[in-house]
């Protein structure tokens, strides 16, 4: 089966500052694909590049066989990719209900209502907070809201940028469990950038190790976890 996402020889960055060098990757449908690497190695930039938020100098990105290289983010969103940034991924000044309504902005109103009640079934904690401003939610609840907002558009591929950053370990585990459920129950392909490499590699199918903007490893997630050198060198994993 052809991969759902194909990144080929991509050089990308911000303005004149190149961050990624000749990055290639293939993501199979319904996989959890994990991107790991030391700080500042370009993990987030790679996600942003897929979503059209950086400048691509060279290479190509195809999603579902369709060329999306250089398309603006709102067009890429329409093809079925959702991007969840690390911070500012909800409207803090808007209520939970308003946030969900905005996530359904482009849908016709009856469909919007249907989708909103669907995600509320999935995340009942949001149901109790509909009238509260998003800024009053805890960090974990905010991630859930951000997830719910992306789900409203029924994406085929979700890009998570460190969804557990700044969360307590127990909450972080819950969020990662939710992400696994998205794949298992809804069949959504996941690309995950995660600071906790061990945890991420345990739940992942495939993995990519980025160091200094270059691919150091591409293959099975479990294999990377058990790799004799790479884990200890770059990810702080014990041998």
């Amino acid at each position: 089966m052809a991969p759902i996402l194909e990144v080929k020889g991509v050089d990308a960055g911000y303005g004149k500052l190149q961050i990624l060098f000749n990055v290639s990757m293939e993501v199979e449908s319904k996989d959890i694909f994990v991107i790991v690497g030391p700080n500042g190695s370009g993990k987030s930039t790679l996600l942003k590049t897929i979503f059209g938020l950086t400048r691509i100098y060279k290479g190509s990105i195809r999603f579902n066989g369709e060329e999306i290289t250089g398309k603006p983010p709102h067009d890429i969103a329409k093809t079925g990719i959702a991007y969840l940034p690390q911070t500012d991924n909800v409207f803090a000044q808007l209520t939970v209900a308003e946030n969900l309504k905005m996530a359904a902005y482009t849908l016709p109103s009856d469909l919007a209502e249907e989708r909103i009640s669907e995600v509320l079934e999935r995340f009942p904690l949001l149901k109790a907070r509909l009238k509260d401003k998003a800024m009053t939610l805890s960090g974990g609840q905010r991630q859930i809201l951000a997830m719910a907002m992306s789900l409203i558009r029924k994406p085929k591929l979700m890009l998570f940028d460190e969804p557990t950053a700044a969360l307590a370990p127990k909450l972080a585990a819950e969020i990662l469990d939710e992400i696994i459920k998205l794949r298992d129950e809804l069949g959504i392909t996941i690309i995950l950038v995660e600071q906790n490499a061990k945890k991420a590699l345990q739940m992942g199918d495939k993995a990519l190790l980025l160091v200094g903007g270059r691919v150091m490893y591409r293959g099975g997630a479990k294999e990377l976890l058990e790799h004799p050198e790479l884990g200890a060198l770059y990810l702080g994993l014990k041998k």
Binding site: H74, D88, F91, Q93, L94, K101, Y105, T106, M149
Partner: protein, 335 residues
């Protein structure tokens, strides 16, 4: 005299003008993060719409008429709204896209202000010519109006009270409440708040951020234009009438905290009252001390500048940042 009824009525009109202008200035500030120095001249353009209505509808012949308001409020809303929209689309947005700093954009609004005042001067000349050369004797009497006209002589009264003293506050209340309902109860209004808070996220959700910003500028300009209609009833028509007023408008917005439309309106109202009554009572006090008649009308901006200083010292985030529940209960007004 402790309380002067006419002064109070005049102040109602003037303070609501400031309320409208401070609120709409705050709107453009929230949207574009640029202090718009052309904002009070927006109001001046609205004021000129009144003169044009007085001329074109023949009100100069018939005397005071409600037509002054019926015609000039919507007209100034549309015309000045369009001016504000053009300022955003032609000048501010392209400059911001090129990465010009806020300071640069601010200077650009100063430039726009100078251009707009220039255009008002040209229009004033043009109107003077038309009036002067008119065969209509009544119209020829208007010849001084484009540069120093008191248009209040054409406004109707309600039970002896000039209409602007009632319409001004009414307009302020209706536009504040209307805008609040628009922002909270409609989908587009909610999208407006979303796009203002986080344009990047809004964009990825398919909200047309550019449209939202354009509508905001149009509404802000429109409100400023309507404020100009009320304003010209309390002051002399002149192309540069915005230049002195802009100080008070900014004072109102800063007192309100530059972050909330409601508090912007309240800030403008407060500064209006402070200026009017500050001048009035200082005149009385100084008059009693010196035994002479003191006239301080030209110093009214001292009070609005003072309000800015006090506000920035006491509560730099403005009235919006104060904990009103606590203050009210301290004062015994709330349990």
């Amino acid at each position: 005299m402790v309380l002067n009824v006419q002064l109070f009525l005049d102040t109602m009109a003037y303070a609501s003008v400031l309320g409208l202008l401070s609120m709409s200035l705050t709107l453009t500030y929230i949207v574009s993060r640029v202090p718009n120095f052309a904002h009070a001249t927006f109001a001046a353009i609205g004021s000129y719409m009144v003169l044009i209505v007085v001329w074109l509808l023949g009100i100069y012949k018939t005397g005071p008429s409600w037509g002054v308001y019926y015609a000039s409020l919507p007209l100034s809303f549309i015309v000045v709204g369009a001016v504000a929209l053009l300022q955003y689309l032609i000048v501010l947005r392209p400059l911001a896209k090129k990465g010009i700093s806020i300071d640069g954009l601010m200077i650009a609004t100063l430039g726009i202000d100078i251009i707009l005042v220039g255009l008002l001067n040209i229009s004033a000349d043009f109107l003077e010519d038309i009036f002067q050369q008119s065969p209509d004797k009544d119209l020829r009497k208007l010849v001084t109006y484009p540069r120093s006209g008191y248009l209040s002589s054409y406004e109707p009264t309600i039970m002896g009270v000039t209409a602007s003293s009632i319409l001004g506050p009414l307009l302020l209340v209706v536009s504040t409440v209307g805008f609040y309902l628009f922002l909270t109860k409609t989908k587009f209004g909610t999208a407006m708040r979303a796009a203002i808070e986080n344009p990047q996220l809004a964009e990825t959700l398919g909200i047309n951020v550019n449209l939202v910003y354009s509508v905001s500028w149009f509404i802000a300009g429109g409100l400023a234009g309507m404020a100009g209609v009320i304003m010209v009833m309390t002051t002399k028509l002149n192309p540069t009438m915005g230049w002195l007023l802009i100080v008070s408008v900014f004072a109102g917005s800063i007192v309100g905290g530059l972050g909330s439309l409601f508090w912007g309106a309240v800030g403008g109202l407060l500064v209006g009252f402070l200026e009017q009554f500050g001048v009035y009572y200082t005149q009385i006090i100084l008059g009693a001390l010196t035994g002479e008649t003191v006239s301080l009308g030209n110093y009214r901006q001292v009070f609005s500048l003072g309000a800015i200083v006090v506000m920035l010292l006491v509560a730099p985030q403005g009235l919006a940042s104060l904990n009103w529940g606590k203050i009210l209960s301290r004062l015994g007004l709330r349990r």
